[in-house]
Symmetry: C2
Subunit: 336 residues, 2 copies
DNA sequence: TTGTATGCGTTATCAT
DNA sequence: ATGATAACGCATACAA
């Protein structure tokens, strides 16, 4: 491994001079600087991030906390896209990505301790149980954090527009003539609350009265539970004409149930998903859904975090709302 | 931040004593050691991984190289599962995971340089173009590497049993009475070569002559190309009775094309996928496929790498073959 | 059994 | 414009 000392020896200068030259300080003569840089290149010099971190107290390393509950943390395309996007944006700013978890090796530590242990400059928190004390401890610590789809007071967050998305979906369906609209929702997270609230409010604004049985609980990313919920809806004396699913993947369960019962989409019943993952766009009929802009979510989260890290003084916590857009497929038909 | 110096001051001992006590050295009296450990706990001491890395030359950090070509690196469930599994196993041994890429911040470096820069103890390489000079440079460097689904001479690799898997699939289909078996394969990677070779060999062993037109090229994880390949197969004067797809997700394209042409599965034609991702098991009819054990792949890759890192002397490069298993669904029917 | 001294690679401060 | 020195937090060889 070639270090600045090696370069210093070869160039007959001190280590300090090498360091300054390499970091572009102005108090080094142009000639010497050029010399040193040339030598560094020739010798294949690489800065040592570890030494730099130790000295500067900045690791240029961002932790990501994606807990794989229901073992679908990364299996869920929405989150894997966000991760990919966070990674790309962070790299642009010179930051690497490290996963944060508990119980690393023998030492059992919590999220905060892990992040500290690795000297993370900040952490992006997504896809976790935000009521977990370990998560709360991390967020309220001295480590800068940005959360996704959840807001902590005085902290920055990046949010998918669940309220707007659901409203748009309902209005679209309404516009197609549907009045008996059912909603199968995911487990009670902050996201579900927003979508559910928006669903009700929008229906109310449109003058629709939705019977309680049209609201069915299920689980995100779980076709089975959505399939069961679909069955419950089909058993009603007055069936809905349109069913909204918790997410695109869950819809598969509904699709199966509908097919099993000989109910065809969209002739007999209309459906829509949520997320706009790749799958929704390769299915036939193409699924009408609301696309969450995962790429933008990840990008903005990384930008927000880097901003906190690099401009701590002038930073003000803010929530960034990321709009999505309706993807019109062929699963919602027009009815009179 | 509390350091060993703080503990030393409070316990009235030297930093060296603290260090030894915390690391369980035997030359410290039980009493002092207990004292120190107690104080450390009370003060909320956390070791600083950066300082340790600088001192020991070991980062306890593993790099993962998952290139998102075709932007499906992590979008592909097979790889996201492997990643999750690598992470879990690595953590058990006390290693963290950092993504390796090129062009980090301003500095443009290649994979090797990036891994060096971050002092990675080793790198797991998957889902990349293994002929990329940058990948080859990394693998042939002083950094220990383990590759997935590709073998470099004198290096450890973890391999999915593509030859065995394809053979099992073909024999299963044959056992169901199929003789006209078509194979839509992915782009020409090492994996494709193995599956293709195994397909031909197995057919030959079974006494089957497969017409050239039954072998159709497509792209992994791309329903569109598989849909087109499916169409080409359906246009043949003598249609196959069974089609094998490059992977489960690609099968969606075939499914759409078949439905469009009014060909039903498995009544009119039988199909099978490859991978055994979640999707394949929630579709109805359930897709017959060959499940690759991604969890085991990731686990073994991490274990192999940790072994190289921790026992470099006694280490011998080895290829670990991970068997999968046939998932019998309802998409291959019995014919006479 | 405990402590002293040193160095890992880097950067910042202060002299020169 | 350049260099000597110290410091970041830790672990180890060696001295006491």
């Amino acid at each position: 491994m070639v270090t600045i000392t090696d370069i210093a020896v070869r160039c007959n200068v001190s280590r300090a001079t090498v360091s300054k030259a390499l970091n572009g300080h102005s108090d080094i003569s142009a000639e010497t600087a050029a010399n040193i840089r040339q030598a560094a290149r020739e010798m294949g010099y690489l800065p040592n991030a570890t030494a730099r971190t130790l000295k500067l107290g900045r690791s240029h390393n961002i932790g990501v906390l994606f807990v794989d509950k229901t073992s679908s943390g990364l299996g869920h395309e929405y989150f894997s896209q966000i991760l990919e996007s966070v990674k790309q944006e962070a790299e642009k700013s010179g930051y690497d990505i490290t996963f944060i978890s508990r119980d690393i090796g023998g030492l059992s530590m919590d999220y905060y301790e892990h992040a500290k242990y690795r000297n993370c400059d900040g952490v992006i928190v997504a896809s976790v149980d935000f009521t977990d004390p370990a998560v709360i401890k991390l967020v309220n610590s001295d480590i800068p954090t940005v959360t996704l789809d959840y807001v902590f007071d005085s902290h920055s967050a990046v949010l998918s527009d669940n309220v707007g998305g659901m409203a748009e979906l309902v209005r679209y369906v309404y516009g197609k003539g549907h009045r008996r609209i059912a909603f199968i929702h995911g487990e009670f997270t902050s996201v579900t609350q927003k979508r559910l609230g928006s669903f009700h409010r929008t229906c109310s604004e449109l003058g629709l009265t939705i019977p309680d049985e049209y609201i069915q609980p299920a689980t995100f990313h779980d076709p089975k539970s959505s399939g069961l919920a679909t069955r419950r809806l089909l058993e009603l004396k007055e069936r809905p004409t349109c069913i909204l699913y918790p997410d695109d993947f869950s819809f598969i369960g509904g699709m199966n149930e509908l097919e099993k019962q000989g109910v065809s989409i969209p002739e007999d019943i209309s459906v829509a998903g949520y997320d706009g993952i790749l799958l929704s766009q390769v299915l036939r009929p193409r699924l009408t859904t609301y696309r969450q802009d995962a790429e933008a979510m990840g990008r903005e989260a990384a930008r927000a975090l880097v901003e906190i890290i690099e401009r701590p003084k002038e930073w003000i916590p803010r929530q960034t709302m990321i709009p999505g857009r309706l993807l019109e497929g062929d699963t919602v038909r027009t009815i009179e």
